[in-house]
Symmetry: C2
Subunit: 350 residues, 2 copies
Amino acid sequence: MVKQRHRITSYDVAEAAGVSQSTVSRALSGDPIVAEATRNRILDIARSLNYHIDAAASRTRSGRIETIAVVMVCPEHEDVRVLNPFHYGLLAAICSAASQRGLETIVSFQGARDRLKDSYEQGRRAMGIIVIGTSENHTAWNFFRNSAQNGTHIVCWGAPYDDLDWVRADNHAGAALAVEHLLAQGYKSIAYVGDNNCPQRQFAERYAGYVTAMEQAGKTPRLIEVAPGLSRHEQGRRAAQALLASGQAFNAIFAACDDLALGAMAVLEERGLSVPGDVGVVGFDGVRSGAIAVTPLSTIEPDFAAAGEVLVERMLASVAGEVAPRRRVPVSLVVRESSAAAAPQKATAA
Amino acid sequence: MVKQRHRITSYDVAEAAGVSQSTVSRALSGDPIVAEATRNRILDIARSLNYHIDAAASRTRSGRIETIAVVMVCPEHEDVRVLNPFHYGLLAAICSAASQRGLETIVSFQGARDRLKDSYEQGRRAMGIIVIGTSENHTAWNFFRNSAQNGTHIVCWGAPYDDLDWVRADNHAGAALAVEHLLAQGYKSIAYVGDNNCPQRQFAERYAGYVTAMEQAGKTPRLIEVAPGLSRHEQGRRAAQALLASGQAFNAIFAACDDLALGAMAVLEERGLSVPGDVGVVGFDGVRSGAIAVTPLSTIEPDFAAAGEVLVERMLASVAGEVAPRRRVPVSLVVRESSAAAAPQKATAA
DNA sequence: CTGAAAGCGCTTACAG
DNA sequence: CTGAAAGCGCTTACAG
């Protein structure tokens, strides 16, 4: 291991190349004004000296930060593992999209109300904040809403407030996709399991999409509202229990998210109902555990890569004082076993 | 939204406080040499002006970066969702532990061989790199191994090479915990499902722990080696199929990781075996999907918070030129349904 | 305990 | 096309 005595600076490169430090700086920043031959020589020497621009100094001088803060909103008690895996996929997509554009991402997991932090922009650590995570932590969302009102650049996924700059999946289209698919598979009596009292705008959108699609097909929508304050999985379980206890016939469930669907599916199978066949199930989110469930779960999956790009794009636009054109992320239907063809002629009751 | 014309600097605070800029700087850095009254006055004014130290300038001058780079090693094709959710839990733990110590974390997901990046330290973006993620991407691990040899500060979770500075779970103790638990639950014939040909040191350690515990209990260890190149879940499925096809009696599986266990469990249940009862299953990792599986999976779970702390601690020590004392992370047994008591007297064959 | 001043390593007008 | 020089906003010897 060879360690340099002194950190190599642009002056060292300049000396080795026989040019001034300013020329080195211009060459490395890709300024087209430097002669191509000069630039190439400088780049070669920089590489051979293993020189890298000092980001701290560069930022100090230019004021360009080229860094986005990503905040994962966690439950207040900060048990990070209850975070929906969906958000991890989103995190990865954001970091990749940012990196694609040469931006760095500093990420933090914030839950406890006394540790919320939004001073990235003030401290010149980032150009703005992308906020994602659980919508249940009202304190945190209010905190970032307030930051946005005070001028911090904030873009969110699925924000509970419309006055935040949000990006969301095309929930309406996704719900329609789910309903049409279930109908085509022979499931004629589709219940919707979801939470319409929570601040999750997306759930309301999915429900609206479901209602529209059902009505267009001449079917009666049916909402099974979930109990508050439980994990999505447990909510799904209870919703299925309630649905069965109601005694009313149904043979399919479209759930507002995969975790709800998986919970519901568990109860159906415990009660001896076959999924698929007796009951078809489609979720929403494209979560990994759905893919490897005992009965793999059909789902509506947002285009994760697009989600990351749109979020980063809007952040960049917001900082530039523009309004980005895109805010909806396309979704697609992922067909797995849970929605394979319905058993003929058998609407299931309790 | 009130936007400042000019960015507020320490000079503004100094002026408002009637002191010199150097005193402001000292007060804000917590230098005990400034009179308490002076410091408090300065802090109050800084707060009221919403002043935050310019991190870029501070880093430029002091050379202290107080940032750790976290690299998530992905498969080469960069489909980030095949990343084991375990690594996401680890990521969150690292970011939290770093934040606890006032450090920032810049995270990147790296898979494709032409986009590997280790110049964080050279570019003064971070003090070093914590590398975690899939052990399957040899190119990436070799790349970071090489970085470490060139003097970059690198600490890893579960590194495939012993010459990297690693932190790992107490795999030996964990395996013993699993074996003892299964035996206590009445499962006397425990097979081990795992991958001993992969670079994952941890798997070898878990297997060794299993063998030791079995031998101490007077039982014969039995290894079901998994097929390479498939997802862990699929490997688990095939291992269970092979185990059943072998015709040899067994009534429990201890799997090297939860995804293997879940795959195996799926096959057992498809074949009409009851888990638990006919077969007891314990995994390793404490992955979320195990908790919400149709049959919730018992598992050996590392202390995630401790894992994050130990990784950050070692990074700090490494940068300081010291050797941190801890590198093993404690584990605990999480008992769920998959290892409930064995059905009496019924060793299961194919 | 506080201040005046130097300097971290860049970027970028300005001049040639 | 290139260089000399100023300056980004801090931290930190040095002097008092």
